[in-house]
């Protein structure tokens, strides 16, 4: 279970996530939705532990940091390195194998099955440099399958990916939902959110609404989100809010 308590994260004093409190529903799929610059990716990085909060905190109960699979918006993978597709997928075993642990036959089977699931088994021994961006995204999803994590964080996973690939990858999200994993995804496509994510956090640096998707994505609340985004100022005064807002 993940709880945000009065979480504020800022870059050079400018808050990207501003006094956000609330809980992510366990074992459910939550979409993080909002205008550009609303702090969606920042929130995900704070949950992941890569960014330190200015104030407030991220409380995790029952999930260690190592139980997370995280897919960044733009992977920093150096694709010029001579690494094969199957090796990259197998790096998902790290959490269990660590420094020396053996990657045994069962693990190899898991890697292979993951590749089959995303439909790239024919590419197993090809170098990662040979993949298109859509294929590469499939490989990264295969690695998430291998990680077998109870908590999955996805940052705009369907950017620069064609419709067929998006449909295949959304089918994986559906599978994770039935397996009871918690999925938190930053998305831009309202339709995708409505169809696949029962919970939505609508934010514009602060929480605009958080709950059942049908109740959050109303015309009224979406307008409030974009209005809030329109009034951000570079010369904002020092924020006086402190303490936990309920």
């Amino acid at each position: 279970m993940i709880r945000l308590e009065n979480l504020t994260v800022s870059y050079r004093r400018h808050p990207a996530v501003h006094h956000v409190s609330g809980s992510f529903a366990d074992g459910q799929a939550t979409a993080i939705f909002g205008p550009n610059g609303a702090g969606k990716s920042t929130l995900l990085k704070a949950i992941m532990g890569a960014l330190k909060p200015d104030a407030g905190r991220v409380l995790m109960r029952g999930v260690a940091r190592r139980d997370m699979a995280y897919l960044p918006q733009q992977s920093e993978i150096d694709r010029s390195l001579p690494v094969s597709v199957i090796d990259l997928v197998s790096s998902g075993h790290w959490q269990r194998s660590g420094l020396f642990g053996k990657v045994g036959r069962n693990d190899d089977d898991a890697s292979w099955n993951a590749l089959v699931t995303v439909g790239l088994e024919d590419f197993a021994t090809r170098p990662i440099a040979a993949l298109s961006s859509g294929q590469f995204q499939r490989v990264l999803f295969a690695r998430i399958l291998v990680q077998d994590a109870p908590l999955i964080l996805l940052d705009e996973p369907f950017n620069a990916v064609d419709a067929a690939t998006t449909a295949d990858l959304l089918a994986l999200v559906e599978r994770w939902k039935t397996e009871g994993r918690t999925v938190i995804a930053v998305l831009h496509d309202e339709q995708q959110v409505r169809e696949h994510f029962p919970q939505t956090l609508l934010m514009a640096r602060e929480v605009i609404a958080w709950g059942d998707t049908a109740e959050v994505l109303t015309a009224d609340k979406l307008r409030r989100a974009s209005d809030t985004a329109a009034h951000w100022s570079a010369n904002a005064p020092v924020c006086r809010v402190d303490g936990v807002t309920p």
């Binding site: 992941m48 532990g49 890569a50 940091r65 190592r66 997370m68 699979a69 995280y70 960044p72 992977s75 920093e76 993978i77 150096d78 390195l81 001579p82 690494v83 094969s84 990259l88 790096s91 790290w94 959490q95 420094l99 020396f100 170098p127 690695r143 990680q147």
Partner: protein, 292 residues
């Protein structure tokens, strides 16, 4: 023909102990430096090796000023200076928005300036210059021991940190996300870089030892398509350049350090044209494409 080969390739090593020592030193250097160089290349830090080779200069000079021409003192000094520069550059990168290459540039220049001041203040000492540019034909037991120990430590350490180091080169965000302590492996690796540069400086000099580290590693990408293959290729190229360079310097009476690096460089130029993985010639000989 056999006579000819013996005369030119084997005789120098059979007849002279100093040539045998030099050969062993070069092979040990190749074993340690080549894989370190390969990781530098894969981490896009090719120029960091160069920066570090300059950074060890003031330490070696301080060692010389304190203890004279003593290998342990100069090596220790060089090592300390290198670690300091790597450490400061690492901290600056971590806590400010300066990129790693810029941090290294800043600190090595600072270090180099101090080094040149120290060297010039000690007068125009021929011995010191000799050591800064190396003389592989003068390696004694102590130097040989140092080179061999560093090669052993390097290979053992790399064997231990191979998996996380490679993963950190490939996908640092992933390693951080799964709690893989990326910076620990990075720092350990930088330590290996400094160690290998210091171990190379008696044989090749501070400025040349980086050549045996980088040139074979850069070449290896043109010859192999896997990391394992590249490690092997880098070592073989470094070892060949070492042996060939020694023979060249013996036969034409030129300084050995530059000869070794020159051969490695020539091998790189040739590789650019003929090597199978992305060389120019294989690309020109257009092979028919496969079926879809």
């Amino acid at each position: 023909m056999i006579d000819f080969l013996y005369q030119w390739v084997l005789a120098p090593f059979v007849e002279f102990a100093f040539m045998r020592r030099a050969l062993v030193a070069c092979l040990a250097l190749a074993l340690g430096s080549a894989p370190v160089g390969l990781f530098l290349v894969m981490r896009r830090m090719s120029l960091v090796g160069d920066a570090m080779s300059h950074a060890v200069l003031p330490g070696a000079a301080v060692g010389f000023l304190i203890a004279g021409l003593s290998l342990p003192a100069m090596s220790l000094g060089g090592f300390v200076a290198g670690v300091l520069v790597a450490g400061f550059a690492g901290l600056a990168t971590r806590f400010t928005e300066i990129k790693e290459d810029a941090s290294f540039a800043a600190f090595y220049l600072l270090s180099l300036a101090i080094g040149v001041l120290l060297v010039s203040s000690s007068g125009s000492n021929v011995d010191l210059m000799h050591l800064l540019f190396g003389s592989v034909l003068a390696v004694d037991d102590a130097a040989l021991l140092l080179v061999a120990s560093v090669a052993s430590v390097t290979l053992l350490t790399l064997a231990v940190i191979y998996r996380p180091l490679l993963l950190e080169s490939l996908d640092p965000v992933f390693l951080r996300a799964v709690g893989g302590h990326g910076s620990v492996w990075h720092l350990l690796f930088l330590l290996l870089v400094v160690l290998n540069l210091v171990s190379g400086f008696q044989a090749l000099g501070t400025l040349m030892s980086v050549g045996l580290m980088m040139l074979p590693a850069i070449c290896s990408r043109l010859w192999a398509a896997t990391v394992g293959g590249m490690l092997l290729a880098a070592f073989l190229i470094a070892a060949l350049a070492g042996m060939g360079g020694l023979l060249l310097s013996y036969h034409v009476e030129l300084p050995s350090g530059p000869c070794i690096i020159l051969l490695a460089g020539l091998f790189y130029i040739v590789s650019l044209f003929v090597a199978p993985q992305g060389g120019v010639l294989p690309r020109l000989l257009r092979q028919r494409h496969l079926e879809s």
